[in-house]
Amino acid sequence: MSAETDIAVLGAGPAGGAAALAAAAGGARVVLIDEQAHPGGQVWRKKDVDLPGLAETPETCAGARLRGDLEASGATFLGGTRLWHIERVEGGWRLHLLTRGDRAETLTARAAILAPGAREFVQPFAGWTTPGVYGLAGATALMKSQGCPPGRRSVVAGGGPLALFAAAEILRLGGEVAAVATPNGRGDWLRCAPILAANPALARRGAELIARIRRAGVPILWRHVVTRAEGDRALIRVHAAPCGAEWAPTGAARAFDADALCVGHGLIPNVDVAVLAGLPRVYDADRGGWVVEAGPDGRTALEGLFLCGDGAALRGAETAARAGAGTGQAALADLRGTPAPPPAPRRPDLRARFGRAMTALARPRPGLLRLTRPNTVVCRCESLTRATLDAAIDAGAAGLDALKSATRCGMGPCGGRYCLTAAARLIEDRTGAAEGTVPPPVPRPPLFPLPVAAVAAGFDYDDLPIPAPAPL
């Protein structure tokens, strides 16, 4: 099945949702696409389970408002839908989608707005493949959508505000928290004091989270990293050790009995779709690593292709929503051939500065590499250890394509999303190359595992044109 529209928006989080609303408000035909069942993205994710008595949070309120606004707008929402390929066509962009029920469809749009958000980075460490070990952002998404804590007794580990938020959420949902381990020191947070003071509401919320954790008697281990998860078919124990300013473990680990570990080492902008569409990547640690250039109105170097939100630069939900609205208006103006609305007045953007400071707190530091021991699995899908990868690097694999060819690292069903960032750092470390010099491989379609039946279901041998046999 194929369809066409004026503006397609990929990703229904704060950025994509705001872009869709702005474009639909101007009368454009808008299709908003997301792999989850409801708009909201991960940060404003909808609660899927009806749990009476569970209080609303700023995130659930913002999500409910977005979903209500979208419902009332003229935008069409395509939930449970993934993009597996994008290509330029005459007068626009063709999106190849896998919709609910594994049906392949194409959508041709005069303009495409990419708001793909970010995914989580977890540095491979001993035992991170043990069932019961979860990504920190993932566990947060679990709690938001499913309303259940990740386990009976959890350890929460990670930089920036997300670890504190996740720990407080576990307590609120009735779970126990054995410890919070954060590689940030108190000094890291103190240096954010001026930015926090300029955002009193967000600062107050942070203080409330810490107070809730402290009231529950949960130890907060500053400058600590998780070094090992123990367990076979399920997690039983978590080891956390003190770390230095660059996050390398420095001392003896403490052990905590736990059946869940929520651990994250920062976020990575999702650039695959933008790169597949033909945009170059650049490395900018401040924006989240490998990113694609987009203007403040979301315009990219390619006509009719826009990019906004955390997928362009990690700045958080508030900034993403504002960028999304501006991007929706810019796309609409291009479509109409009208001049773009004047750029927002340049005033000090406190929310963006806040987002930037929080991103900096969570940005993975080079010492994390020490968590990945020779026998640690790096590529989860293919169960490849660091020793295997190191051997291939020593044999000459100086880039990720070569490493993939040599070992199959990153060639399993996750498409390398959970190993190639770490693998690139392993190559940089082992070959003495600078950070940000080993780029991720060029993404190829399909971007997600695609059932052959979805694209070949219409095939019939009887349809093959067979020329009449030549006369004898």
Binding site: V49, P131, G135, G138, A139, S145, P150, A234, P413, C414
Partner: protein, 93 residues
């Protein structure tokens, strides 16, 4: 645990031949997690088990066999009578 009047009735699901109660609207992965089954697959035998990791449908660790297809348990909403199977090492390669 007793159920209060305003809590919706659970749905019955089957994973690897065992029956579990699930909350309407939750994902299969969440239902199994609450039932104490964090492992949803057995990778390279005799290697260790795996289970849901990213909770966003990306890492593919929680894929299970459902209606003849591999689906991510974290994106599969439960329904009464849902039946799914764990992956075995033999399925992986």
């Amino acid at each position: 645990m007793s159920r209060t009047a305003d809590t919706p009735a659970p749905v019955r699901i089957t994973f690897d031949g065992r029956d579990y109660d699930a909350r309407p609207g939750e994902s299969l992965a969440a239902a199994l997690l609450r039932a104490g089954v964090p492992a949803t697959t057995q990778r390279h035998a005799p290697g260790p088990a795996r289970g849901a990791f990213c909770w966003m449908g990306w890492c593919q660790e929680c894929r299970v066999r459902h209606r003849g297809r591999w689906v991510e348990a974290c994106r599969l909403t439960v329904y009464d009578g849902l039946t799914a199977e764990a992956r075995r090492a033999a399925d992986v390669r």
